[in-house]
Amino acid sequence: MTHPNSTPGDARDDHTGRFVTQPNGHRTPLSPHMEVWRWHVTMTASILFRATIIAASGGVVLLVGWLAAAASGVDAFAAAGGFMGSPLGLIVGFGLTLVLFSFILNGGRHLINDTGSGLTLKAATTLSQIAVFGPVVLSVLFWIVLSVTGRVSL
């Protein structure tokens, strides 16, 4: 044993690369930081929630713009509708449904975890997978129903 302090636990025979030898010879677990932490879906869910809040804020600005158009008469309303029906508008619209469903599912995950529940590895992973992939499924379904019922023509 060359280390001055042998580290307890599984550090010595660890093959996962999660332990590093510090300059003083100690074997310590790698600090969790964005660039040196093995990817896990919980991290993605956490980062996506902040991104969702930022995107949802942009969505509310667009929504207030739509309210202004609706309150400004049929011409302004038609202009706003024309943008929403354009290819760019449809992409933005799909993004906004993605953000809305992310907000609901990821916000739900955050609230559950905030109460101290769902923090076992298995539960946290399941909740995060729902929060990350659920919105994609729901948004695609939402737009399929919108086009099938003729509310939106692509």
Binding site: R50, I54, V60, S72, A76, T97, I104, H110, L111, L146
Partner: protein
């Protein structure tokens, strides 16, 4: 700076402030989850709707009230969430304080504008800029 640490249920409670904002953020988020489901169903109803249909939707008091509540609760939540984001990434005290003031101004303007437009739509007011010199 502060007195002896206070405990509740053997858990140390915040010595100054901040816990209140944390809790407020969670309560607002909890309110936003059902409001978000309602927003999704409203988006489905209003997608591709005619101008007359949109006006009729806003003329229903429940729709107009929930729309205003949803936007106001979201802006309250967003102001706290953005404050945390600013505090995470901006470390110069002056810049940080200025950005938080700016953030709250933007949220207040958005809140006032959305309530103004929703009330006009709900009351069936003449299209803007009626009443503002036109």
């Amino acid at each position: 700076m502060s007195g002896p640490a206070k405990f509740r249920n053997n858990v140390k409670i915040s010595e100054r402030h901040g816990a209140g904002e944390w809790l407020t953020e969670r309560v607002l988020l909890a309110a936003l989850l059902p409001l978000g489901v309602w927003a999704a169903s409203s988006a489905y109803t209003l997608a591709g709707a005619s101008y007359e249909a949109v006006l009729a939707w806003f003329a229903t008091p429940l729709n107009a009230a929930l729309a205003a509540i949803a936007i106001l609760v979201f802006l309250g939540f967003a102001s706290l969430a953005w404050k945390v984001i600013i505090e995470d990434y901006v470390h110069k005290p002056g810049t940080k304080a200025a950005l938080v003031v700016l953030l709250n101004l933007v949220c207040l303007v958005l809140a006032a504008a959305s309530v103004f437009f929703i009330v006009r739509l709900a009351l069936g007011s003449a299209p803007l800029p009626a009443g503002f010199g036109a």
